[in-house]
């Protein structure tokens, strides 16, 4: 066991995969000698050589398009998109190509690949270094969407994603890169995709969240507990395919649900989860489902602390749900 930050756990995961499997290639903008703008790929070029970890021209479309070609022909590409905000030139390659290749070829061609990218706010990045675009991708059959919130899960989910036979979008909460630290097993291990993590047990209100919102919800729950409200917190970890059974079970457990994400509200994960619960177990609900989310606006810079759901906003929702 080593005590690592989330970003160190990502680096360790990449290293472990590259050691175990010579077909794993890591590439993207500035991932080589610089080691990535957040240092996720630090020293990989030094340790594995410039053919296994390298810089590409500044083209997300090129990065993802070539990754698909590598993946269909025997390699395991792990491509980095420097910020999730810059993934859109590759939207076509991801949505029209990687995600649909298996289906459109009757399984003859596949794209087992991972796209890693930092997402979310909290670094004063304004419109284009802060976005949470998971909903665009969760609307894409054929793609998997994974978001870790602990160092342990970052490595285990990354290794599971690299081993997965389908394309995985691996969204890393950049706000947690260095603020989250935890025990990470040495060597190879995986955390199964499409499984939830119970963060905290409690019988009054269920809080469903993921990524950088998990520690925010934990803080809110600690404050709620001071007033006798015990929250059951679930980290979704994989958004697509979602562990629907797990979500429903968690919802039924308390009959009161708060869903938290930093992405805009409209057509976001919160809406999907609310509908899932409403369709399947509305009779268990003691209170309306409450969403705490980013606003339906672009992501501001100076006022980002108002945009991002914080402990106070989550606590307010928990209290409203409990009091209903």
């Amino acid at each position: 066991m080593a005590n690592l930050t989330l970003i160190q756990a990502v680096n360790d995961g990449l290293r472990t995969a590259m050691e175990a499997d010579s077909t794993v290639y890591v590439f993207g903008e500035d991932v080589g000698p610089k080691g990535g703008v957040f240092l996720a790929t630090e020293n990989l070029t030094r340790d594995f050589g410039a053919n296994r970890c390298f810089d590409t021209p500044l083209s997300e479309d090129g990065i993802i398009g070539t990754a698909i070609g590598m993946a269909m022909n025997g390699l395991r590409p792990v491509a980095e998109i420097q910020f999730q905000d810059f993934i859109f030139p590759a939207f076509d390659q991801i949505v029209s190509e990687a995600a649909k290749l298996r289906y459109r070829s009757g399984g003859q061609y596949t794209a087992p690949m991972v796209i890693r990218t930092p997402y979310g706010g909290g670094i004063r990045g304004g419109l284009y270094h802060s976005q949470s675009g998971e909903a665009y991708f969760c609307h894409t059959p054929g793609l998997k969407v994974v978001i870790p919130s602990t160092a342990h899960d970052a490595k285990g989910l990354l290794l599971a994603s690299i081993a997965d036979p389908d394309p995985v979008l691996f969204l890393e909460p950049k706000a947690l890169y260095r603020s989250v630290k935890g025990e990470v097993p040495e060597g190879h291990y995986t955390v199964d995709l499409s499984t939830l993590r119970n963060v905290r047990e409690g019988e009054h209100v269920t809080v469903l969240c993921y990524g950088a919102m998990v520690p925010v919800c934990e803080k809110a729950a600690a404050r709620a507990a001071e007033n006798g409200i015990e929250c059951h917190i679930v980290d979704l970890r994989t958004l697509l395919p979602l562990d629907e059974e797990g979500v429903l079970e968690a919802a039924k457990k308390t009959g009161r649900v708060v869903v938290v994400h930093e992405a805009p509200r409209f057509c976001g994960m919160g809406g999907e989860i609310s509908a899932l619960i409403a369709e399947n177990c509305i009779e268990y609900m003691e209170a309306p489902i409450i969403r705490v989310t980013g606003f339906d606006t672009p992501f501001p810079n100076t006022l980002e602390h108002h945009y991002l759901p914080d402990e106070r906003r989550v606590l307010d929702a928990i209290e409203r749900s409990a009091a209903y």
């Binding site: 030139p89 004063r124 672009p298």
Partner: protein, 373 residues
């Protein structure tokens, strides 16, 4: 295919080579010089503000002042600039005030975009159209072509100058922008600032071609290469391209060969990837010193005059920083305004809820009274 040697005008001894001197008046020359000094002062002060935690971020401009200012000097106020984030000098040449740029650096209530964007993502309409900067690289190239199309349709003889880096030539926007401009003969000047690196990625890894100007050939867009540390060479090449565009003869791509004398941004440590010798080599080609030599050869510069102008611009920028720092944050409702021309009902509801919550939490950003939208 290989490129010609870059056009150079200022000789090592400071004289302008015959035939290419754009023939600027003394006033114009001094305005260019002052603007370069202003960029350098703004750059220095922003780095200090960032290091001391007063602003979050900045982008070093040192080393490329001659490219920015030389190119901007070929435009008139009715032209449009589609800048990159490393183009302080283009704005300043045309009279955009240091203090207005500082409001953006602080993201305060007087910033033209109300603190919504990161620092260095300026947007101005006066005294020249200095188009709102977007982070995604290359997106503004086709947009510049569209704006130029509109100029042409209206029968104006204005032009659009679009500026981007060597890395930008790999973007989708570069290729569609050049292609459309070629087909439409749009009045556009593409200015590729080849400053050696795209963050940490050197040119060899960006392209296998011999430079960037020749990329225009296949799009039917003539390309020229200039010494980007030579203000007169940049001015000369841009002037010719602008005239060509005004005449209706279509676009040009200019590659200015220069060097970024610092990190990509204040978050970057170039010692991880730029060999020391490169900085040393380019330090000797400093664009400001080179221009000083030229000015001296025309009797326009002495050390004392230079020092006194440096003092002036430092004071101007320091005053601007002080003023901007004293301005408060944008109001809470600025999160919800300008998303659409009219605030739709769902945003009004979200804004009002945020406003109420902020008040309940005693957050000063909420201000007084009702949610104003």
């Amino acid at each position: 295919m290989s490129q010609p040697a870059p056009l150079t005008v200022i000789e090592p001894d400071g004289r302008a080579s015959m035939g290419h001197d754009p023939g600027l008046s003394d006033d114009e020359l001094l305005h260019c010089y002052r603007t370069m000094l202003l960029v350098r002062a703004f750059d220095d002060i922003c780095l200090k503000l960032q290091r001391s935690g007063r602003i979050g971020f900045s982008i070093p401009n040192k080393g490329i002042e001659a490219t920015q200012v030389g190119a901007a000097s070929a435009l008139r106020k009715s032209d449009w600039i589609f800048p990159s984030y490393r183009d302080f000098g283009m704005a300043m040449y045309h009279g955009i005030k240091s203090v207005d740029m500082m409001h953006n650096m602080f993201g305060n209530a007087q910033d033209s975009a109300l603190g919504r964007q990161m620092p260095v993502h300026f947007s101005f309409t006066e005294p020249i159209k200095f188009y709102s900067i977007s982070s995604p690289i290359g997106t503004h190239l086709p947009q510049a072509v569209g704006a130029a199309f509109a100029m042409k349709e209206r029968g104006e003889d204005n032009v659009a100058l679009v500026s981007f880096g060597d890395g930008g030539t790999s973007s989708l926007g570069f290729h569609s922008g050049l292609n459309f401009a070629g087909v439409w003969k749009a009045p556009v000047v593409f200015l590729c600032q080849n400053n050696g690196y795209a963050i940490s990625c050197p040119s060899e890894q960006q392209t296998a071609s011999d430079g960037y100007a020749i990329k225009g050939v296949a799009y039917g867009v003539p390309g020229v290469v200039v010494d980007g540390n030579d203000l007169l060479a940049v001015r000369q090449a841009t002037g010719e391209a602008v005239e060509r565009a005004r005449r209706g003869d279509g676009p040009t791509i200019i590659e200015a060969v220069t060097f970024r004398m610092g990190g990509h941004s204040t978050s970057d440590d170039p010692s991880r990837y730029v060999p020391k010798e490169l900085f040393e080599e380019w330090e000797k080609k400093d664009p400001v010193e080179r221009f000083e030599k030229y000015l001296a050869s025309r009797g326009l510069w002495t050390k004392e005059r230079g020092e006194s102008m440096r003092g002036d611009v430092m004071k101007e920028v320091a005053d601007a920083a002080r003023e901007a720092q004293g301005v408060g944050k944008p109001p809470l409702e600025s999160i919800f305004s300008d998303v659409y021309a009219e605030v739709p009902a769902h945003l009004r509801a979200q804004g009002a809820a945020a406003f109420d919550l902020a008040k309940r939490f005693g957050d000063p950003d909420a201000g007084e009274g009702e949610f104003p939208l």
